[in-house]
């Protein structure tokens, strides 16, 4: 199964990269842009007997390593095909 994981700084955690990108976008004429947030996108293949097991394992690895839940939120999508 193929897993797509999205990690993003929590609301309330300062995102200086997002702010800098927002300013850049404004300076090149995209003034309609607000609230830019920069995160991480990970993809991985996982061997699992079922989708439920894969979900459990992915949630575990996000909590342990892939995200720092003190400052980041995550969500993921699992698709059957690699």
């Amino acid at each position: 199964m193929r897993v797509k994981i999205f990690v993003l700084l929590k609301n309330g955690v300062l995102d200086p990269q997002g702010n800098a990108i927002e300013r850049s976008l404004h300076s090149i004429g995209y003034e309609e842009v607000h609230d830019v947030r920069v995160g991480k996108y990970l993809e991985l293949d996982i061997d699992a007997p079922s989708r439920a097991v894969a979900e459990l394992r992915v949630r575990e690895m996000c909590d342990k390593l892939l995200a720092n839940t003190v400052i980041e939120d995550y969500r993921f999508e699992i698709s059957p095909e690699s």
């Binding site: 300062l14 200086p16 990269q17 800098a20 991480k40 892939l66 720092n68 003190v70």
Partner: protein
């Protein structure tokens, strides 16, 4: 500077260093992670400037032997991949460090070491990208907020220490609840201040919440700070204020040894 050069210069300036005065022989351990870069500086300042017994510890080894204080040095462990300190946390030696800390052992995390301690859950909160986005490399002034800890016991409350910082991800963050806990348990040990000791926005090099530069855990035996005391232990390097942190640790252990033999 090579250890030999440091030793020669330390000898030249030996009248300025009396080392740490301890009746008790401290055993310091300095962990080397792949990508650590301040390990040698910590080792040299302890050994050459402060005349202590120090051993390097390899991240892949188990934590074996008796130590009074384990130091997690600065650097870019595991290339800072994913998040600073995120992977070092799972180094084999860190399991020993967590146990050591839980049993009351003294753990000092400097810079990347502070990040690793936060990632490990030994200290609350997290260190994120500097608010100004730039890597900061400068001298800072720090106000000592609490002195009833093994890391600040030899310093006066409110005293201002001068040390350098050098980091890209040193902005301390904690959610409101965690911050309240830090206040309640008086865990904020160091704040960035100006030369007069005022915690102003201008004196904050990285946008840290409430100018926080260093915190300890509830049990007060784990301390993390972004500034580098190890490169502020010699007049040659512009400040000897960092030695007061190491002196506090040695004094605390000496007192304990007197009590418990």
């Amino acid at each position: 500077m090579s250890p030999e050069t440091r030793a020669v210069q330390a000898a030249v300036f030996s009248t300025q260093h009396s080392g740490l005065v301890t009746q008790y022989a401290m055993r310091w351990g300095v962990i080397i992670f792949p990508g650590s870069c301040d390990d040698q500086d910590v080792f040299d300042s302890l050994k050459v400037d402060l005349r202590q017994t120090v051993k390097f510890l390899w991240h892949k080894d188990e934590l074996a032997g008796n130590y009074d204080c384990i130091v997690l040095p600065g650097g870019f462990s595991y290339g800072d991949y994913l998040r600073c300190g995120a992977m070092a946390r799972f180094s084999p030696i860190m399991q020993g460090v967590v146990k050591f800390a839980r049993s009351g052992g003294l753990v000092l995390g400097i810079c990347n070491g502070f990040q690793i301690l936060c990632e490990s859950g030994l200290l609350p909160g997290a260190l994120v990208r500097n608010a100004g986005l730039q890597f900061v490399c400068q001298q800072v002034h720090l106000r000592v907020e609490e002195t009833d800890t093994p890391f600040t016991g030899a310093v006066k409350k409110g005293q201002v220490l001068k040390m350098p910082v050098k980091h890209g991800e040193g902005c301390y963050y904690a959610d409101p609840q965690t911050l309240e806990g830090l206040h309640r348990n008086r865990q904020i040990l160091l704040r960035y201040v100006d030369v007069k000791g005022r915690a102003t926005t201008a004196a904050n090099p990285n946008g840290s919440l409430e100018n926080i530069a260093g915190i300890c855990n509830k049990k007060r035996n784990v301390f993390g700070l972004m500034p580098h005391p190890e490169v502020a232990c010699s007049r040659l390097l512009g400040s000897e204020d960092g030695a007061q942190i190491f002196h506090s640790i040695a004094a605390a252990r000496t007192d304990r040894a007197k009590l418990h033999g």
